[in-house]
């Protein structure tokens, strides 16, 4: 489903070119569970941003569902993000003035889905993620685990094919972290491709495929593709 070939990304810092990614080749199929690990500055997050279409590669091609998405303009990329990609962030990124339910609804509002259907989907997600009595609370009234569950519910509200998680347990304690991982792994069983960036070898080790990155290159890959 996702095919990266010879993808590089370099930034200009001052008058120096700094390469964040060098010649990445990567294939990810639907339902794959991939963890990306490596030290800080190894290019993990840049890779995730590229896959999430938040960033464009300096060279190389990125095919999503067979089509070259690097050639798309901003509006088309935004639509691809809306329809196919879900994000889960380390710091949750919930809109503070909106309630949990409204945060979950947000991607559907942006996509222009009819209000009745939105309500239905939100009700179902709130139920599924155990947020029923928290739906009308604002993020600052929620615990870290609850916030991340809201964020996951939001990421899945548009039924994405790929879920990108950047250190989703980084701000959580171990127990809640495990709960959140369980929720994400449930999605894998529903044939969503999960790409997980993490420092934590224990969490990274749970993935079916593990990619190790150093200096913008993939140095080793273990596990199997489903």
């Amino acid at each position: 489903m996702i095919t990266l070939s010879q993808v590089s990304r370099s930034f200009t810092v001052g008058d120096q070119q700094v390469a964040a990614l060098r010649g990445i080749d990567l294939n990810i199929a639907a339902g794959d569970y991939v963890s990306v690990m490596g030290p800080s500055g190894s290019g993990k997050s840049t890779l995730l941003n590229l896959i999430g279409l938040l960033d464009r590669p300096s060279s190389g091609t990125y095919k999503l569902d067979g089509g070259d998405v690097t050639a798309l303009d901003d509006v088309q990329q935004a639509r691809v993000r809306s329809e196919k990609i879900g994000f889960v962030f380390q710091s949750f990124h919930l809109v503070p003035r909106l309630t949990a339910a409204m945060n979950i609804e947000l991607p559907m509002i942006l996509a222009g889905i009819a209000p009745e259907e939105r309500r239905e989907r939100v009700a179902k997600l709130v139920e599924n993620y155990g947020l029923k009595d928290r739906a009308d609370h604002r993020p600052d009234q929620l615990s870290g685990g609850q916030r991340q569950r809201v964020a996951i519910a939001r990421a899945t509200s548009m039924h994405p094919a790929v879920l990108l998680a950047d250190e989703p347990t980084g701000n959580l304690d171990q127990t809640t972290g495990r709960e959140v991982m369980a929720l994400l792994e449930q999605l894998v069983e529903q044939n969503v491709a999960l790409i997980l960036v993490t420092h934590d070898p224990v969490i990274g080790g749970r993935a079916h495929r593990q990619i190790h990155m150093v200096d913008g290159q993939i140095i080793s890959e273990t596990g199997r593709s489903t």
């Binding site: 941003n49 999430g52 938040l54 003035r97 947000l106 942006l110």
Partner: protein, 402 residues
């Protein structure tokens, strides 16, 4: 994204920072209110003057004895001649013109009015029965001057409202006799209270037939002839005819001045309209200042909400949509500010109207429209830059809060 959702989202983010929203709305509404109140004052002044003029009568043409010229001194003046007076026959002759509806000759003088032991000096107006219609007066009790030959004197008089109260109090006045100078007059009517119009208090007048006034003051000339033209369109015709008739009757001498009420009125109207627009324009500057304030605060809002903008992009909002959201916020803000400003402005005009009841204060529709258009226009115009800046943010940097 649906329009309703855009509005809801914008409302939500405005509510998210109430102090900021309130301040911006205040700036906007003060601007709008200033435009409304100031133009209402200007318009009030204009209408006050117009009303005063029209209370004098409609379609009026006035004939005055003597001629004001800028062409130096005429030979008559050097010989010590005074301008020829206007006679009652002259007045009657004016009715020959088809443009003239009716005329009212006027003689003015002052005399001692007395009843029993009460007496006071009054302004006596000599005229005919048509004065009532020409001059838009109304009778309170009894009748006005009788119809009949303009040359015929009669010992009857009509009292101004205040004169009646001073001489008769609450007792019956109509049918009673009063003394005016050395003659006795029977009161046949009392004018309705009218107050002041263009400096003449009709309430303190005594009106007698013009022939009687001539006898009383021992004169034969007229102070003015008021002519009411048939319609607005023939005012110029009436003026021209009056000049021609007087020219013929005064053996080819142009020794009267004919003025139209309209000409004077139009000048006032132009001056005061220009004044209103100037004042409104000055007030509109405050709207532009409010616009700059909105831009400033919007820029701060973009900076404060960088993370949110990054998130919206990650969730699939294209740049255009984010721009729309910020536009909607600005439009909503200036829209509400405009409505609040209108309420404030109308309330202010109402209060001024209460303080100065004689001033017909009401904001002109064009000023209200212009104020709203300027408010919305500046609000949206000045949010173009902040909205573009938000739309162009790099999502990766924005999510990181940079």
């Amino acid at each position: 994204m649906r329009l309703v959702d855009v509005a809801q989202f914008a409302t939500g983010s405005l509510r998210g920072s109430p102090a900021r929203t309130l301040l911006m709305m205040l700036a906007m509404s003060i601007g709008v209110a200033a435009v409304v109140v100031l133009t209402a004052l200007g318009e009030g002044a204009r209408r006050y003057v117009v009303d005063q003029f029209s209370s004098l009568g409609t379609n009026l043409v006035i004939v005055l004895p003597g001629r004001t010229e800028t062409a130096g001194i005429g030979p008559g003046m050097l010989l010590g001649q005074i301008p020829r007076e206007i006679s009652l026959d002259d007045a009657e002759a004016l009715l020959r013109s088809r443009a003239v509806k009716r005329i009212a000759p006027l003689t003015v003088g002052s005399a001692m009015l007395s009843r029993d032991a009460l007496n006071r000096e009054v302004v006596v107006l000599g005229s005919t029965s048509d004065l009532l219609a020409v001059r838009h007066m109304s009778i309170g009790l009894g009748k006005f001057l009788p119809l009949g030959d303009i040359h015929e004197s009669a010992s009857v008089c009509v009292l101004g409202n205040q004169m009646k109260r001073e001489l008769f109090g609450n007792t019956q006045a109509v049918g009673q006799w009063v003394r005016l100078g050395d003659r006795r007059f029977r009161v046949i009517g009392v004018l309705a209270a009218q107050g002041e119009s263009m400096g003449m208090r009709t309430d303190e007048l005594v009106i007698v037939p013009v022939a009687s006034a001539h006898q009383l003051f021992n004169t034969s000339g007229l102070f003015r002839i008021l002519i009411e033209a048939n319609s607005r369109d023939v005012i110029e015709q009436a003026k021209h005819d009056a000049e021609q008739i007087m020219f013929q009757r005064h053996s080819g001498e142009r020794d009267v001045t004919v003025i139209t009420q309209d000409a004077v009125l139009a000048t006032f109207d132009r001056i005061l309209t220009a004044l209103t627009m100037a004042v409104g324009g000055i007030a509109a500057i405050s709207l532009a200042v409010a616009g700059v304030l909105i831009m400033n605060v919007m820029l701060i809002a973009v900076a404060q909400r960088v993370k949110e903008i990054g998130l919206l992009k990650a969730l699939g909002a294209p740049g255009g949509q984010i721009r729309t959201l910020f536009f909607a916020e600005a439009a909503l803000l200036s829209g509400i500010g405009c409505v609040v400003g209108l309420i404030l402005g109308y309330a202010g005009s109402f209060i001024i109207g209460q303080i100065y009841p004689s001033l017909p204060v009401s904001p002109p529709w064009w000023a209200v429209l212009a104020a709203c258009a300027t408010a919305l226009g500046t609000g949206i115009l000045f949010s173009v830059w902040p909205a573009r800046r938000a739309a162009r943010l790099d999502p990766v940097a924005a999510l990181a809060g940079r």
